[in-house]
């Protein structure tokens, strides 16, 4: 190899090279962020991450099904009797104990994700032995608070994040 003796002070030499290398490494690493972030939901997908549902025309005892982030949401307007039963059942020995009051913001309205917590089928409304939903795939029964009562499902129907924009509109997500 050609003779390349270095006459410089080694520590000064190293400082320059180290600084340069660190600079370069930082640059290369920051290159990675856009390439990763583009995998995250795009603006059009994020815009649909929350939806507004108009509940003004649902009668007592009626329900509305809306799609949210690709999943069905059951919005159920409960009658006074149904609310009473839901609250009374709080004290029973439930497979997944949860108080009804902890699952609703307004007792009249039950909002749950309509996906069975067992293996993901969509339960049928107004069926099953507990006045709520019945999942036909493997026989899970949910009550009028969306709680699992009988069958293989391990947990109650999930309550999504939601809020009442006003008395006619619920914003989910």
């Amino acid at each position: 190899m050609t003779d390349t003796t270095d006459n410089q002070d080694p520590s000064r030499r190293d400082f320059l090279y180290i600084t340069t290398a660190v600079f370069g490494a930082t640059g290369a690493a920051s290159l990675a962020w856009p390439l990763i972030d583009q995998l995250n939901p795009s603006a059009s997908v994020s815009a649909l991450s929350s939806i507004e549902a108009d509940i003004s025309s649902i009668p007592e005892g009626g329900s509305l099904k809306v799609a949210w982030r690709g999943k069905p949401i059951f919005i159920r307007r409960r009658t006074k009797e149904e609310i009473e039963i839901a609250e009374k059942d709080d004290s029973l020995d439930l497979p997944h104990p949860e108080k009804d009051l902890d699952r609703v913001k307004n007792k009249e309205w039950l909002v749950v994700v309509g996906v069975c917590t067992h293996l993901g089928c969509i339960p049928i409304a107004d069926s099953g032995d507990f006045g709520g939903w019945f999942c036909p795939c493997h026989g899970s029964h949910y009550d009028i608070s969306g709680r699992i009562r009988k069958g293989p499902a391990p947990t109650n129907l999930e309550v999504p994040p939601y809020e009442f924009v006003n008395e006619n509109i619920i914003k989910i997500g």
């Binding site: 003779d3 410089q8 320059l16 090279y17 340069t20 600079f23 059009s44 815009a47």
Partner: protein, 262 residues
């Protein structure tokens, strides 16, 4: 320095090529006059959009242009996102709810009509391209989402065009029942003059002269064609700054390394 001579040599080719291709990217190629250049706030490496002008421009678009021109790449939510007119979310919801759209069918199979929301695209003026042509003497009013990028020297051209309708037609020009606009290639344009003084009553009280409206709507369309422009220039500043510093460090490193190579 040898290094600089060589860098110059490499970049010389680049500049030569740029010079040559700039000849083919001439201003207002094919039009009668050279475009007017009113100067827009978004021009230059540190350009930003004038948000009030964008808001006014949207008003011009929605009240005048949208009758015939769609903007299908835009959704209402774009109007409130950063980098644009930045209307408040409530304002945009209110704007959107003024339009309706057919979405789905009811239990009898009948189409359901609902008012538009943030996530909906801007309403279409016509059902199809053919319908658009039929309603406009066979000429299709182009979609305006990208019009500024789809024309040479786009924003200056648009501004000149909107501002440049003239009553007096040159004697030797036969334009049939089209309109005369010296900035349009060939001079005969199918679009009738769209803007007159006070066509629009600006919400912010600005006086709506043709010049003002042309300027504002061009601003708006420039944003619509490239809503990420401000973000692009901002990131550009950071990246170029970083690269420049890195360049100096690398230059010093190369010099240091090669000092002893003969």
């Amino acid at each position: 320095m040898n290094i600089f001579k060589n860098i110059f040599k490499n970049n010389f080719y680049f500049f030569l090529i740029l010079f040559i291709i700039s000849g083919s990217v001439s201003a207002a190629e094919g039009t009668t006059f050279k475009n007017q250049k009113p100067g827009f706030s978004f021009e230059g490496p540190f350009g930003k959009f004038d948000k009030e002008s964008l808001k006014r421009g949207y008003q011009v678009y929605s009240e005048v242009c949208s009758a015939c021109h769609g903007m299908k790449q835009l959704s209402f939510r774009n109007l409130s996102q950063p980098g644009g007119p930045e209307f408040s979310v409530e304002k945009v919801k209110a704007i959107a709810s003024g339009y309706s759209i057919i979405d789905g069918t009811n239990e009898y199979g009948e189409p359901i009509e609902r008012s538009m929301v943030l996530t909906d695209r801007f309403p279409k003026p016509y059902g199809s391209k053919d319908e658009a042509k039929a309603a406009n003497n066979g000429a299709y009013p182009p979609d305006l989402s990208l019009i500024v990028k789809a024309r040479v020297d786009g924003y200056n051209y648009l501004y000149s065009l909107l501002n440049g309708y003239e009553e007096e037609i040159p004697e030797d020009l036969d334009i049939g029942d089209l309109s005369y606009n010296p900035w349009f290639p060939g001079g005969a344009i199918a679009m009738y003059q769209p803007l007159y003084d006070e066509s629009v009553e600006y919400e912010d009280g600005t006086i709506a002269t043709i010049d003002q409206m042309s300027y504002d709507v061009t601003n708006f369309l420039a944003w619509a064609a490239e809503p990420t422009m401000e973000e692009r220039k901002k990131l550009g500043f950071i990246v170029m700054g970083f690269l420049f510093i890195f360049l100096i460090l690398m230059y010093l490193s190369v010099n240091r390394l090669f000092k002893d190579v003969h």
